[in-house]
Symmetry: C2
Subunit: 440 residues, 2 copies
């Protein structure tokens, strides 16, 4: 029913993908995850105390397609899937570019971002495996919010360790999680041994993501019916996010569009990968020349400035070792507003795709990304998440390059979330007090 003149290309509920696409089946040369102690490839049983068994299976899987359970598809629909692919007509007009710009609307989820796609899957598998409580950490709060709702949907208890500074500065994120029924602890907390130890040594600490991860994992490994969940980085999370890219492909086909560029922001990598991998498979197969562009913050430019080597996923060195682009597990990115991109490493799948030249990366300062975000808000009406403004900035740059060459390129980017709960950055940008954020 979509016409060429429509602003939005929509799909029906029946067109929510029925399978996840697993890039590990097509990307050759992936290196195994290593046990931090033995440095040997990690085994399923090493991960079972932390993650639920269905997720461990997915983490190790090389199957190309994995069925999405009906119960998960029903919840994806409640997250407003399938989400529209929308044309940014007013942004195009403003830029006076011959390029066509489309964006995928992950901002329409009731939790405000793409994070719900993996949250409902992980909650479902935990419930199915007999787990009663799930734990996680959250910094900016997008992932914690998504997991809180997913837990409510599958009648699980949910405990979120929220970095103390965010707990205090972002009370509304906490309120949303509590409204969905989650327990939220400021981390370090007194509910774990590790939290108590940190508090004893540093009573006034504002916390860190590393500490919060340690608390969440401690709670999981201490009990048979509790498991930990992760919001990005892992192969299984990337897998769940491929519903985005599969919908995009169906939408492009429906409207007879061949993209020249697919653009998304990268932090841990699951947003970019979920959006890009289904079409990147076609590139591996030689069926498309589309360029895939990852937009990262200069403050944590793991692809453009990092090294490709084995490293820990966390700061304390408790996780397995991943072969990935990394700035070093001890690297602390400056406090940019795009909290979801403040990560030293990169999904092993995205890292390998980048290393093989299947994609490129561009790094941006937060002042230029907020400028792009404000322009997008004024032209298209939607205030984007600080993370998503990186993709918008890259899309605008590519559209202006097309203008300079007078080329009718087609650019598709992923609007990974809205910025309604991250307005402090916009406030600073508007008042002229937003600082630059390059790495030292």
């Amino acid at each position: 029913m979509t016409k060429k003149s429509d602003i939005r290309i929509t799909l029906t509920e029946d067109e929510v993908p029925k399978k996840y696409y697993n890039m590990a089946a097509d990307l050759k040369g992936l290196q195994p995850v290593l046990h931090p102690g033995t440095k040997e490839p990690i085994k399923e049983e090493d991960l079972l105390p932390v993650f639920t068994k269905s997720i461990v299976k997915q983490e190790m899987s090389k199957e190309r397609y994995i069925d999405i359970p009906d119960e998960v598809r029903e919840k994806l629909i409640l997250l407003n899937r399938p989400s529209p692919l929308q044309r940014a007509v007013n942004l195009e007009k403003y830029l006076k570019t011959p390029a066509k710009i489309y964006f995928k609307r992950e901002d329409m989820s009731p939790v405000g971002s793409h994070k719900g796609n993996s949250a409902v899957a992980q909650a479902y598998y935990c419930r199915k495996d007999g787990i009663e409580t799930i734990t996680t950490e959250t910094g900016a709060g997008q992932w914690g919010t998504a997991l809180a709702l997913a837990s409510s949907m599958f009648d699980l208890d949910c405990t979120v360790f929220m970095v103390r500074v965010s707990f205090d500065q972002k009370p509304f994120r906490r309120t949303i999680m509590q409204t969905y029924g989650a327990k939220v602890h400021a981390s370090p907390s007194i509910v774990t041994q590790y939290g108590k130890k940190v508090l004893k040594e540093h009573p006034n600490t504002s916390g860190s993501l590393g500490i919060a991860i340690s608390e969440a994992i401690e709670m999981a490994v201490s009990s048979k019916n509790v498991r930990y969940t992760l919001g990005s980085l892992a192969n299984s999370v990337v897998l769940h996010q491929t519903v985005i890219g599969q919908e995009v492909m169906a939408q492009l086909k429906k409207a007879d569009i061949e993209p020249d560029y697919m653009v998304a922001c990268v932090g841990g990598g699951s947003n970019f990968a979920g959006f890009a991998f289904p079409l990147m498979r076609e590139k591996i197969l030689g069926k498309t020349d589309c360029e895939f562009v990852a937009a990262e913050p200069m403050a944590a430019a793991s692809l453009t400035e990092g090294e490709y080597r084995y490293d820990f996923g966390d700061t304390a060195g408790m996780t397995p070792l991943f072969k990935m682009y990394t700035l070093g597990s001890e690297f602390i990115p400056s406090a940019i507003h795009a909290g979801g991109l403040r990560y030293h490493g990169m999904s092993p799948l995205v890292s390998e795709a980048y290393d093989q030249g299947l994609m490129s990366a561009r790094a941006y300062d937060q002042t230029e990304t907020f400028e792009a975000g404000v322009l997008f808000a004024k032209t298209e009406g939607i205030i984007p998440a600080p993370e998503s403004t990186h993709a918008i900035k890259a899309a605008i740059d590519i559209a202006l390059e097309a203008k300079a060459k007078n080329e009718e390129k087609t650019i598709v980017f992923n609007l990974s979330g809205n910025g309604l709960l991250d307005l402090a950055g916009y406030e600073k940008f508007i008042s002229g007090s937003l600082s630059s954020s390059r790495m030292k």
Copy 2:
């Protein structure tokens, strides 16, 4: 393409209504608006210094259908129209009711509520009539946000007078308006004579909606190219909001649903009227027995506790006199979180429909509406605006009445907005510190 099993009943962009429905054509016995000085029926020329001429014409019109300009329809699409009608399956299950509950998703607008529907119309008509700047007041901020975006869309300057206490307590609403390019003044301000006068007499005042209205009107009447805009109450605003109810009727028809109840919250009345009037016409014509239920706050229960008489629209007595249900123009509702419902009067069209028995009303305390809001968030995933929780509470009550009688009733309510920028009320509810809000 909608199937009976779908969660959402959707429409295509082509199905965004092409005409506004004007209830003034079908509702007999409406009393004229009176000039505050002469007490004679007001004339077009009395209103022209305040409102742009196209809006004044609509305000006086008795035409049943008024064309929606293509330029406005294009912008309504950017506000995510047509919006889905969604079934609240999980809420039904939780309530164990035989009733079916549907809700209209005005929460999906990028400005978070239904307010954009009238904002884009008023901005368009101002631009068409050669106006360059539009002004308004805002309390909670929903209307100011919508008008700021609409002004950006039609390249108008926009000045919003925001009640000082909200300006200080809700900095993020202010940030959104500024992101869309609006000028926002804390009211009372130093940019109007009236503002300066108030500040001189009460330097530490926290402001009021009445003062902010006076400042916005003063700015409009002082210049040829500036006009004032209104977010509810007026016939023209009700007219613009009927895109909601017309879409609902198309969606009900598509899915072959006959509603027994249509439920919406009421403050000034435009949300309820826009949702209900297109179908209420069928009731006037004897084609439906559907019951129309307005849900109002006990703190400002104009329908259930007010008198039907002529009264001013504002506190200072500067507006024309409207025949309406009113608690008295000097009545100050208690500071409930549903700021959009804190109004002493009621749209003359809604008032007359209520007086004629075409609809009923129920009043609720804010503690019970927040309880309904949290239940809705946990079951359907969406955190509703505090205003909308009144409609949810009424829908739940009706669904439980149907359960008690074992009747398969169909209830449709309007989810007028989301609560992502009004989380302070939820925070208080969750922590147990939310106060009751009955009128003294």
